[in-house]
Amino acid sequence: MAFGGVAMVLGVLLGIGEASSPGSYTNVQFTWLKLAPSPGPFPSGFELVMGTLVDPISALVLVVVTVVGFLVLLYSIGYMHHDRGLPRYYAELSLFLAAMSGLVISNNLLEFFLFWELVGLCSYLLIGFYYEKPSAASAAKEAFLVTRVGDVMFLLGIFLFFFVYATKGPAGTGGWAASGFVFVHGAAPFVPVGTGNATLLTIAGIMILGGAAGKSAQFPLHVWLPDAMEGPTTVSALIHAATMVAAGVYLLAVTSLFLGFTALDQTVIVAIGGFTAFFAATMALVHPDIKRVIAYSTVSQLGYMVLAVGAGFTMVGLFHLFTHAFFKALLFLAAGSVIHAVGTQDLFKMGGLRKKMRLTSAAFAIGGLALAGIPPFAGFWSKDDILSSVYSTLPSHPAYWPAFLLAFAAVFLTAYYIFRAWFLAFSGDKPRDPALEHAHEGPWVMAVPLVVLSAVAIGGGLLVYLPGFAGLLLHGGGTPGIPPTLSPTDLLLSTASVLLAVGGILLAWRLWGNGRVAPLPSSSAVRSVRQVLLARYGMKAAYDWIGTKGVYTLARGADFFDRFVIDGTVHGFERTFGGLSDRLRRIQTGVVSDYASYVVAGLIAVFALMLLLAPYLLSRLGGA
């Protein structure tokens, strides 16, 4: 029911996305919040506007969003048919698509942030879709919280850029810039590095990176993404693989295009990206849950993108975003149809599904190859571009070396873990868990997306050779795109990485092929490493500890202070006066003679006052 409307909306968005040929900008604005310059209270006002901006990069991402979105919705018909609350599901999903598109085409940081939070909200709602499950509820909360940390940094980054922009803003607009901080083409980098604001800009860049790290699950804010797999697989495919998590990368891209990063920022970003690419891959090596393996791979792939953008190759990063969106969605949907069929996510229960679900296994294989970066699959082109272009900067930026090496090593791990998953799930002759015997393919609505996505995963990389698309990548946002170079070093690099990947695949086959389950090496070192990896290096536990033990204890303490110390003081006053009153009441003995004596005492007191105290006081005061 909700679906019809949703589909139409999507059609329209899709149309916009495709139609926007490179270089065509539309820009509609309306005032959101205005402090007009006035002689009164607000001498130098400013104006925050909302507007749209469609340019190559936004068009690129828009295509991803709408296409994947459409396919996922299609897929959902089959995948979700037995779930309750479908209206809620589709409503939230379409809200997400709207917000995501808005984010992509927003033309200023504030608007960007606005939609940024909205997609975060949708992610929160969809992760918690099965809210009866405590794990889902807590995962949703965790996702919101961790990204919130990033958002806070993002907000501060906005302020900083705002500030820089305002002071360096267009002439004639004193104080805050007259029109907020709208993206202006060709303006980047805003402030030539090395001017007075360099430090400020650096901090701003770091803050923006923090925001991106939160959304794109980069180290150290990556913990939420694997848990986010509590949501329906379709949601994981759309939000936590293809689109939303890529928003962080998109933010970095936009920032680097329109505002600019300082060299220090770039180094940090590159380091974070490279490290995450490797770090996440390691955690994917041992995980038994099929979805989480893919989730970790998402984190790691996002690391690649961050690496590229950080190194200054924005379009390369976005190109990988593009390809990754498709093959990662493919992987998730394939995994989804497996889960749909067997009702579990535990790889060690599966096995031999190849015979039962040929299409799915093929799709998963294609996705895996693309992910591993085997030519001619899409992943190869984009990942290879990243590696080669980053390599090309190494002479000038030796600081990039570690990140580059880590990313390069990650290629091997990637190939290994994804095919470990494939072998565990599909190879062999029959499932390890007999309960999974009756597994079968899903309906056509689930098959079609798999086919389409497989097609893109295979051919997507070759799009580079389409003139239009190449143009899109080439002169998008004015940074150098990547003509597929064939320089010897590049070839060498490519072959090296391909060999690594193949090696990874072979190792995976050696250990897990044909339904083998590799016995765990007896050496305790390996075991302990495995434990550490399964425990995610203990980071989640640490965060939880901070949350529960640290902050919560503090809160209890403060509450205690309120209830007993502050209120205690107040009641203390009360008690003091009460006691005083009680003591004073005792003079009211009821015996008249005592009253008479009070009168006499009063008489004496008056004497004392008039003859002694008052003159004394007056001599002190009057003298002054």
């Binding site: 009441r585 005792r586 009211q588 003995t589 009821g590 015996v591 008249v592 003679s593 008479a596 004596s597 006499v600």
Partner: protein, 106 residues
């Protein structure tokens, strides 16, 4: 005229007042209280007479002697009321000990 007798009389009337107040504070018998109060009262009356005699010539307003006469009359009325209360109290409570009538307190 010397201030000596002046001071002397002040001491006398002051003593009268003191005696009266002392009586009020120490006695519990209503009648004795009335007497004590009268003594205190007489201190004032005495003063008026005395000061009138020594008054700076001619003083405006009522002459001291007149005041003294008025006050004597007033004191009589006051005591009359007091005695009335004594009687009532005696009838109701059977005692004229003021200390025993201490129902109203605190």
């Amino acid at each position: 005229m010397s201030g000596l007798p002046f001071a002397g009389f002040l001491v006398l009337s002051g003593a009268l007042l003191a005696v009266g107040l002392f009586g009020v504070l120490t006695r519990r018998n209503f009648i004795l209280l009335l007497i004590a109060i009268e003594i205190a009262m007489n201190a004032a009356i005495l003063n008026f007479v005395y000061f009138a005699a020594f008054a700076r010539a001619p003083s405006p307003g009522l002459p001291g002697q007149a005041i003294a006469v008025v006050l004597i009359g007033f004191a009589a009325t006051e005591v009359a009321v007091g005695l009335a209360i004594v009687l009532a109290l005696n009838r109701v409570k059977g005692s004229i000990n003021v200390a025993e009538a201490s129902e109203l307190k605190l």
